[in-house]
Subunit: 459 residues, 2 copies
């Protein structure tokens, strides 16, 4: 069964016979001819199909075709340079493949995001989600190609784990036991020795600890997989299941890390602009005016680097009124991020207060800060977060005690410092945050095919 | 910090100054000079470094360097076409970065797979796992490139789900509730309305049902992500967490599906042979003699297509003694697969007995078989399994009743048939099975970075 894809017809612009398979978006029929707009998912652009009773046998039938029906259409590609669309298909045969009753929710009109979230299984049939999910797909490939062309090895870190660098109170527990008939030990507590793994297991919130061990064999590695948080918060930027990219580089300090972050984000944006011009145009027009300019500008900017201390100085001396007062000991708030990125464009904020950052980050000589970095970008705030890791075994063990990290469960992790350790660094990039940045979509629920949020686990 | 990677030095074969970072594999020191073998993870091949007291300041120190230490080495690349290795590095400076005590388990000798499984966090520092996990990484990219260059959209189907096509008795349950203080309803059963998602949730065994809904928008889609099974079996081919590729194609019947399967497997093998020649040579020499021939042969074979019925005929008429008697109503056993692939080479077995296959598969007109297909390959048996899907709503609903599938939880799935449905097909490819096929490794535990099997959830 030969299939022509609409994207290719529109690219090739060649007059020829073609056969397409797709779905009716609209049908305008008059007495002597009609127009079908067909989408096959290969591009956000529809193909205009002209039909008339002279060339097809079932004109009456076709003129009643409804939105959403699936069809097979044979015909001739005719170039129409004088028209709005560069070409159209003059049908010689049109066959109905799948009916679509009138209660089809995806009618050809504007739907609100809230309405479409009720139909996560159908919304990819709209232009918006066609564009957003294609960009998501192409951006994922861009990430793989960036890393692998730079010699990184893709590591599938485990999702099921008994250890986690973010702390087990943020993790989902998993079990094969019967919830209504749990085996109990002599202490009256659940006896997980009878569970599949012989102990309490979780679904991970990060692959960092495991991927660090692979950096000590391959030098440059990355993970790219789903990640889970149990956070019970309903807002536009958090989901309980999301995808994350976590690169880790041996023999690499914080400066080398920032170089890689900057190169990666520019690579991905450039890649998407080149491969998805129609989708970006669509998002520019219907989701965020100025999106394309914003992305193009970022590719050519030089990312600034500033310490957290200097950033707080700037914020305090800005003369602005802040809802949250900037502090040398505290995190940077969204209002601060907006100020900093409007001043600098994309900016790396480095050397954060150690007490608000994670235990595995490298202590700076000042004893107060760690070699951590957040990348802030205009219009979105924090896009990536990373750090040099504490490679000194003694310091690391002291920090683990101080931060109440159980050394037993991550004894293997300490071997990365014991056997041939070295200065190494890594970062995390939330994939959905990147897609929101690339498309202008402002709600994480609209960049995930089937979002999982509190009280929401449909499909 | 400029880093030369050993792989590039070996490829470029240019005499120049270089600085490398890596780990000591071996050190042979004599009174007037010594040789370090250094690996930096960029290739399975080590770099030979020559050092002598004339050119480095710390000859005494370096001559005592142990396996596993991490080092920085500056020097000059010298081509040595008359030697075993094409080039070596004449050191001008060698610095110890990370010590490695003598209890380091990965000493330069043969270790058994069983021994190395105890050190999943260190074993990627051996040649074998360096080769296997690089092939895994490159094969993953090959899969993405194959699909995306053919217009498929990569869909991240959810892992957390309340619906699953494989049946919830094979799924892990997840919760945020306290196992030792579970809220109970009036019926005495656990009250999941107080769990994060407001109901009992699972970790999925397949993204197929969800990805089918996206095929009805994009035509050609695929998933590639982790998958989970609770199977309590300890053998060489099963793990509780593994990665799976699930493509789904609208407007595509079983023949189109087989075309794609054949093209995909050939593409991936070709890609890996081209990009990982040293790794494949290593596997050929140390894991499976004849591996490279086997893979090369597969690329040029024409995959045969035979029905299950005809395959059983052949088996029954073969004159062979079978442990399991071939039957028209039953699955094909491993001994049968060996016979069929030694006769045909790679072979698609189609049209399986409907009662042993899944509910969503397309009933054939004979009422006894379904339009399903398994791809059998020499040396491995089943590599992929797929089917045309039952697109007829009435037939599908009857089959769901017959197979005891809960229509309520997958009502959304039925919309793929209600709104613009069509003939469509998809398959599943277990990624680990592919990697075993590509490397000759015979135990799934040795192709997964941190394998999860019953009673085994370390790291």
């Amino acid at each position: 069964m030969r299939r022509d894809r609409i994207k290719k017809l529109l690219q090739d612009k060649v007059e020829k016979e073609a056969v397409i398979y797709g779905w009716v978006r609209t049908n305008r029929s008059q007495s002597q001819f009609g127009f079908l707009n067909i989408n096959d998912g290969s591009t956000v652009t529809n193909l205009q199909v002209v039909y008339d009773p002279e060339h097809i046998k079932n004109f009456e039938e076709v003129s009643k075709f409804r939105t959403g029906m699936s069809v097979e259409i044979k015909g001739n590609v005719v170039l129409t340079p004088e028209m709005k669309q560069p070409l159209e298909l003059h049908a010689t045969e049109i066959n109905l493949l799948g009916d679509c009753p009138e209660d089809y929710p995806i009618q050809p009109k504007r739907h609100t995001p809230e309405f479409l979230r009720q139909y996560a299984h159908l919304r990819c049939r709209t232009n918006k989600f066609n564009a957003v999910f294609r960009i998501r797909s192409v951006a994922a490939l861009a990430i793989h190609e960036y890393f692998q062309s730079n010699g990184f090895v893709y590591v599938h870190t485990p999702l099921v784990t008994c250890a986690d660098c973010e702390g087990s109170n943020q993790m989902f527990k998993i079990t094969t036991l019967d919830f209504n008939d749990l085996p109990k030990g002599e202490d009256g507590k659940v006896d997980f020795s009878r569970d599949l793994f012989g102990k309490q297991a979780f679904i991970t919130g990060s692959g960092q600890l495991q991927v660090e061990t692979f950096a000590m064999g391959f030098s440059d590695v990355y993970t790219f997989g789903p990640t889970f948080r149990t956070e019970n918060s309903n807002n536009k930027t958090h989901a309980n299941e999301f995808w994350m990219i976590e690169p880790e580089m041996a023999f690499c300090d914080l400066n080398g890390l920032m170089d890689t972050e900057e190169e990666l984000v520019k690579y991905v944006i450039k890649y998407v602009l080149e491969r998805c011009p129609d989708e970006i145009d669509f998002c520019d027009q219907f989701i965020e005016k100025g999106l394309k300019d914003r992305l193009t500008k970022l590719i050519t900017s030089d990312f600034k680097r500033i310490t957290h201390h200097d950033a707080v100085d700037l914020l305090l001396n800005s003369g602005k009124k802040w809802e949250f007062m900037p502090s040398y000991d505290a995190d940077i708030q969204h209002e601060h991020e907006i100020f900093l990125t409007s001043k600098f464009g994309p900016v790396f904020v480095t050397d954060w207060p150690r007490d608000i950052k994670a235990w595995y980050m490298k202590d700076n000589p000042d004893g107060k800060t760690v070699a951590a970095v957040d990348l802030l970008v205009p219009g979105s705030g924090e896009l990536m977060g990373g750090s040099q890791r504490e490679e000194n075994m003694e310091v690391l063990q002291k920090k683990m005690e101080e931060f109440h990290v159980d050394k037993e469960t991550v004894a293997w992790y300490l071997d990365t410092r014991k056997y041939g350790g070295n200065i190494h660094s890594g970062f995390g990039l939330g994939f959905e945050r990147l897609i929101m940045y690339l498309t202008g979509v402002d709600n994480i629920r609209d960049v995930i095919p089937f979002p999982r949020t509190p009280k929401n686990c449909e499909y």
